[in-house]
């Protein structure tokens, strides 16, 4: 094989490799890009229906309800403009508390409740996503709340 052929082969191989990697990346991104919304955005219809996304805000004081003796919990997530009820079945993270921040991962149901399959507490040492930290610093709303 002449050096020129070898060079050509190398270039083709590299392009093929990059192409394969790009295709793989796009395939992998498809369902794994998780968008984050606050309750106001969800109620305004910004969040994709039927698909998993993340919702974040504060847990409304007094909203945490357990079905006694079971793993089922309900609580309300709010951004002080709007609120959304959340239901979840499972262990809550250690740092979950009313009046503190939370992120829930799941889907909106037809009943207007958010069915969470994962709950992360905002100041969780385990994980604090960037959008949460930024959402703690709020620019002024368009109108003053009533």
């Amino acid at each position: 094989m002449t050096p020129r052929r070898k060079r050509l082969l190398a270039v083709v191989a590299i392009l093929a490799g990059v192409g394969a990697a790009t295709a793989l990346a796009m395939l992998a991104f498809q369902d794994n890009l998780l968008y984050f919304y606050n309750p106001s955005q969800v109620l305004a219809g910004d969040a994709p229906g039927g698909r998993t996304f993340r919702i974040g805000g504060m847990v409304t004081e007094g909203s945490l309800q357990r079905t006694e003796g079971t793993l089922q919990v309900r609580f309300v997530v709010t951004d002080y403009q709007h609120s959304i009820p959340v239901r979840y079945e499972g262990l809550l993270p250690d740092l979950f508390r009313e009046g503190q921040g939370v992120i829930a991962h799941g889907k909106m149901t037809a009943s207007g409740e958010f069915a969470a399959d994962e709950v992360l507490a905002k100041h969780d040492e385990n994980y604090m996503p960037p959008e949460v930290a930024e959402s703690l610093h709020t620019p002024t709303p368009a109108r003053v709340s009533e």
Binding site: E134, H137, P139, V144, S145
Partner: protein, 179 residues
């Protein structure tokens, strides 16, 4: 000197990456220092939240360091930092003045009544003009003004005890023996 292009690719790719990082840092202005630091605190004189007939302003604490905390009832992070503010107020190291920003007076007063009031006084800024002078673009934000009336620190986002101890306290003069 002939420079085959492909050898520059890594450097160019890196430059693009750095450009994204620069944009990323600037998008959240809390990541770059405020231009107000070291300058005299913008003067203001506003109605007090509780007593509209009284005025509160930047001249109230001249001669000693003080904190300006920008807050509102619609602000998620303000609820978050409230306990820390109460604790800092209890320490009695500096006076805290609140700047109630683009909010409803009645709601704000009810909020303080329910959750506790860490502020020596609260200035009411419903139009947000004073906030603009201070370069405020979101709440909560907290400013430390020194005894000479200069802004020496700005903190964006909720204040925590850790931030207070690590970044604010070292900037304060040593506490006097008697209060």
């Amino acid at each position: 000197m002939k420079l085959p292009f492909r050898f520059l690719v890594p450097a160019i790719a890196f430059a693009v990456l750095v450009a994204f990082f620069v944009i990323g840092l600037q998008r959240e202005p809390g990541r770059i220092p405020s231009p107000l630091i070291g300058k005299p605190a913008p003067a203001f004189s506003l109605e007090s939240l509780g007593e509209p007939a009284w005025k509160v302003g930047s001249a109230d604490f001249s001669g000693r360091p003080w904190l300006l905390n920008v807050w509102a009832t619609w602000c998620v992070g303000c609820r978050d930092e409230h306990e820390a503010l109460l604790a800092i107020a209890r320490e009695n190291r500096v006076a805290i003045m609140g700047l109630n920003w683009r909010d409803d007076r009645a709601l704000a007063l009810r909020w303080l009544a329910q959750l506790g009031n860490p502020y020596v006084s609260v200035a009411y800024d419903p139009e947000g003009r004073t906030a603009i002078d201070w370069g405020v673009y979101g709440a909560p934000e907290t400013f430390l003004v020194d005894a000479d009336g200069r802004v020496i620190k700005k903190h964006v986002g909720p204040l925590t005890m850790e931030t207070w101890e690590r970044e604010f306290l070292p900037l304060l003069p040593p506490a006097e023996a008697a209060k």
